[in-house]
Structure formats: C-alpha cells, structure tokens
Amino acid sequence: MALETAYSDIGRLDLLSYKDTAVHRLDPRAKVVATMLFVVAVVSFPRYEVLSLLPFALFPVLVAALGDIPAGFIARKVLAVSPFAVFVGIFNPLLDPDVVRILPGTSVSAGWVSFASILVKFALTISAALLLIATTSFPGICRGLRRLGFPALFVSQLLFLYRYLFVLMEEAMRVVRARDMRSFGSRGTGPRVYVRIVGALFLRTVERAERIYGSMLARGFRGEVPSMRQERLRPADAFFVLASASFFALCRLVAVPDAIGRFVRGLAG
C-alpha cells in the first residue's frame, strides 16, 4: 500500500475514534470482549454455512450506524485486504467435487458454497475489527488491554508506538519523496539505497528514543504511562456485552434465516 494512502487511512480511522457517540462512550473492555465474542462465534460455523451467518451482519451495521462511521470507508478497507483470503479460498471451488442443489433446478459445486462462507466470514470479522478501532481510541484500547491483564511493559510500549506512529510515517514519507526525486528511471529504487535509507532511519529513531527517554525522565516517568481517565464499568457496558453475547449465541444455535423464511412462506401460503 502506498505510504500516503496508508497514512491518510490511519489518520482517518484515528480521527473517527475520537468522536463522541453512545458507542464511543462504551468502556473499551466491553467493546474488545464483544468483538472477540463476535469473531469467535462467526468463525465457529462449519465450512458450508453461509445463510446462517447473515444475521451476524446486524452487529457491525448497528455499531457503524450508532457510532457514525461511514459505511463506504469500512467497505473499501475490507475490499483492500481481501486478496489473501480470496486467494486461498478460491481453491475450494476448484478442489471440492461435491455438488449441492441450491434452489430447485440449480446446482453448484459445494466448493462455491464454502468459498462464499469464507468470504462472508471474512467480511464480518474484518469489519468488526475495523469498527473496534473506529469506535475506540487506540489509547483506550491499550488501557482496556491493561485492565484485561496484559503486561504493563507491553501496553506502555504500545502507547509509545502509537504516539510516534505518525511522526515516523511522516519521516518515512519525506525520505521516500527525497529518494524518488533523486531517482532517475529505476536507479536508486533498488535494495542498496533501501538498506541505507532504513539503516539511517533506524539510527535516527534510536537517537530520537534516547531524547524521548531523557525528556520523560525529566517529567517524572517511572515506567508506566499514567492516565487521568477514570474508567469504570457502567451498566450500559454490561448491557452491551450481555445483549451482544446473547444475540451471537442465539444466531449461532438457531438457524435464524431458516426460521424467518419458513415463517414468511407460511404466511404467504
């Protein structure tokens, strides 16, 4: 992915995560737990299930709508990362010789059904992950991880990574632009120059880290980045987790589309 596109995408997600909506106000731990339950539930379906997965779409749709996240942006990012899953999944139709009839009169290879299942699972899980970061600021997620039991050292350096992510990306963009302006045709785009760029960037980074450490020591750094926010679990958070978990369990254990379809057809005659 081009550096500029990546930079603007991360920037946009980061901006979105600081909005103030009901979803954004939920505790990060609640959102992390709900998202993980969602992913596990979706992924636990056997490989020929497609239709029973569809009710799960309600979770990302609701989160995106209530959290005011642009749907097109999420969809574009899901498409952008789909190649690997498509590439592996595309072998299913080719390698699975069983045949299944879908509607009276049409029959497809079972491999297409499992491929469709992979694609649906992919879209659901990836959009859930994106919506997690879009509705929870990265420092919020780090605080949530800390309180869920991750080691302080790991979480602290995650926070540092986030703080300097944009700084380092901007430096990388400047270096790449300088290289591009000095490259004539394909000269300078090879590995030799790359090694020197990366090496120089590495040394600059280490020196910057030493300056950062010195200035933080001067401000009383003791190893953990303190946070002023008092985050306590509220009833809304518990309700969110319980409601989500119940919904996932229901959709996992009961074939909801089947039931609705039968009901509607019963009504129709």
Binding site: V61, A65, G89, A209, P257, G261
Partner: protein, 351 residues
C-alpha cells in the same frame, strides 16, 4: 502471508492466542527483570519505525517486483529476542487494528508466526551460533541471511499448518505447502540480504548498539555447537513427526495435489473419478478427523447444512434463502434508518 480469521477455526485461533499471550507475558517479565525503563520508549519508537519502514518499497533487481522489510530478524539481532518479540507483537497489533490485516483472532497466529520464529527459534539457533562474537562481517552476513530464510520458512509452514488444522480451506497440505514454501524462500532470501545490509550499516555507524542490547556475550565454541545440534535435533523430530503424521494420512498427497492443481486446466468432467476415490481413502486412513478438526460439526438446529451430498432438501434451502435475504435487508434498513435519524437530528438548529 498474514493468516486470516475467515480461514481459522476457534480451536486453532484460541490455542495460538494462548501461546502468544503467554509469550508476551514471558517476554515482558524477562525484560522487566533485566533492564531499566530505557527500553520502553526505544521499543515503542522502533515499533513505529518498523511499521513505517514496512511501507517503503524497493524494487528487486532482475524481477521488477517490489519488496519490503519484515523486520523480525533485524529487531532480534539489534535488540535481543524478548524486546524484539514485543515490538513485533505491537506492530502486528497496530496492523490488525488499523489495517484489519488478518483479523483479531488471527492476530494470535500472526504474532506467533512472525514473532516466535525469528526471535525465539532462528535467532538463538541459527543467528547466534553462526555470527559468533560479531567480529567477522562475512559470518554476520551469512548468519543474517540464513536466519531470515529459516524464520520465514518456519512462518510459512506455520500458516499452512494453521490453515490445515482449521479445516475451512479445501487446500491440501501438499498443495498449499508447494505454494507457500518456495515463495517464502525467495522472500526470505531478500529479507535476509536486506537484514544483513541494515545490520552491517548500523553496526558500522554505531557498533555499541549490539553490545548494549544483546542479552549475553559470545557463546563458548563447545557449548554453542551442542546447543545448535540439540536445537536442530528437536526441530527435526518435531517437523519430521508432524510431516510423517500428515504423510500417513495423505498417502499420495503431493502427487495428488500436483495432479489436481495442474489437472484443473483440463475438462472438469474428468476429475470425478480419482479425487472421489482418494477422498474415500483419506477418510479411511486419516488420523486427524477423529480429533474433530476437519469434521463439520452437526449444525445445531439443523440449519441449511445438509448431512448427505448431493441431495438437498430444496424446501429448507429456499426458506433459508428467503430468511437470509430478509435478515440482510433488515440489517441494511436498520442501519439506514439510524443514520437518517442522526442526520435529521444534526440538521435541526440548537441540537
């Protein structure tokens, strides 16, 4: 090369997450005991550096394709295994969140594949013994190259194993292996060369970096050889055991998969004889299905999954389709309705 949620089963994803989380705890503990807080901003900023440098591409001479740095081996060589593992874990976490690279369940697998093998396998077993005390540039070069290749081969093999154990993809072990390993051999060579180049650059400019961060000094010659041999023996037993396990389950896996992969150029009608028979043979001799990984769970509630192919109860499936479409339509409608309400509320003055 990142593993994706959609190709994982909860058991495999959960198992690797447990392993990754335990290793994160272990690495954090080792770092806490050893060093002062200086490492924290360093690791954080280096994580940002790895993240940014992964986006700078270079063209590989002669092929025209572009490559970029993975970073695991460089970090291990310059920071030591524990710090390097934590940095890789944090970079992958940021990628999983901001880029949805693979997914949140697969994050455990990805941290394992891209962190454990460079930091805790290739670095102590390949790099350290070969590089020795770091004095000879040629040994360093060879060590960096070989350890990067080894780490990537192991990572690719790991992806194949995770996919196979999850049972979502139809790719056979042999076919997938045939696709992944050669590609990652090439990637590993490129990564090894770049790693060697960057390490050489850094050590020429600031030689004290390696001494300041390395956990221990050079190993005595006798001990290192024994460690290396034990390590390789263990690796051989594990991979040999795993491979023979799969080999017994899939008697002609490689030839069959090659035939399948190249056979797809032919008319599809011809394919029904051999694969069906082989599949039956596999089912009879396969050990794995008893563990339940490859078997489909009976869908509780009798959803549209049919127990016997190819006959499908057309009535059930039609209901399922109708219901599925309705559910989708409802979800979309709910989403639109909420947004419309939001917009109209935002438009009103004084709100």
């Amino acid at each position: 090369m990142h593993m994706a949620d959609a190709l994982l089963s909860p058991a495999v994803g959960g198992a690797f997450w447990a392993g990754t989380a335990a290793t994160i705890g272990y690495a954090s503990k080792k770092l806490k005991d050893g060093q002062d807080d200086r490492k924290i901003p360093l690791m954080g900023v280096l994580g940002a550096f790895i993240f940014a440098s992964q986006m700078i591409n270079f063209t590989i001479p002669g092929t025209g394709s572009s490559g970029h740095l993975g970073g695991g081996m460089i970090l291990a060589i310059l920071l030591g295994p524990h710090a390097a593992f934590l940095v890789m874990a944090s970079v992958l976490t940021v990628q999983a969140l901001f880029f949805a690279d693979g997914g949140l369940l697969a994050l455990g697998c990805n941290i394992w594949n891209l962190g454990i093998y460079p930091c805790y396998v290739a670095y102590p077993l390949v790099y350290k013994p070969l590089a020795g005390d770091g004095g000879s540039p040629r040994r360093l070069f060879a060590a960096a190259l070989l350890s990067a290749v080894a780490a990537l081969q192991l990572g690719a093999f790991s992806v194949v194993l995770q996919t196979l154990l999850s049972g979502i993809s139809e790719l056979s072990f042999g076919a997938f292996l045939l696709m992944m390993q050669p590609i990652h051999l090439a990637i590993g060579i490129v990564e090894g060369l770049v790693t060697a180049g960057v390490v050489h650059y850094v050590l020429t400019a600031r030689p004290e970096i390696l001494e300041a961060s390395a956990a221990a000094g050079p190993l005595p010659a006798g001990v290192s050889l024994r460690n290396v041999m034990t390590g390789f023996l263990l690796l051989a037993v594990v991979t040999g055991g795993a491979l023979s396990w799969f080999a017994s389950a899939y008697p002609d896996g490689l030839e069959w998969s090659i035939e399948k992969v190249t056979g797809k150029a032919e008319l599809p009608g011809r394919e029904h004889g051999a694969p069906a028979a082989l599949k039956k043979l596999q089912e009879k001799t396969a050990i794995l299905p008893d563990y339940g990984f490859r078997k489909e769970e009976a869908a509780p509630g009798g959803a549209e999954e049919t127990p016997s192919w190819p006959s499908v109860d057309a009535g059930t499936t039609v209901s399922g389709l109708v219901g599925g479409l309705l559910v989708l339509a409802m979800s979309v409608a709910i989403g639109w309705a909420i947004r419309a309400v939001r917009k109209s509320r935002a438009g009103r003055p004084g709100v």
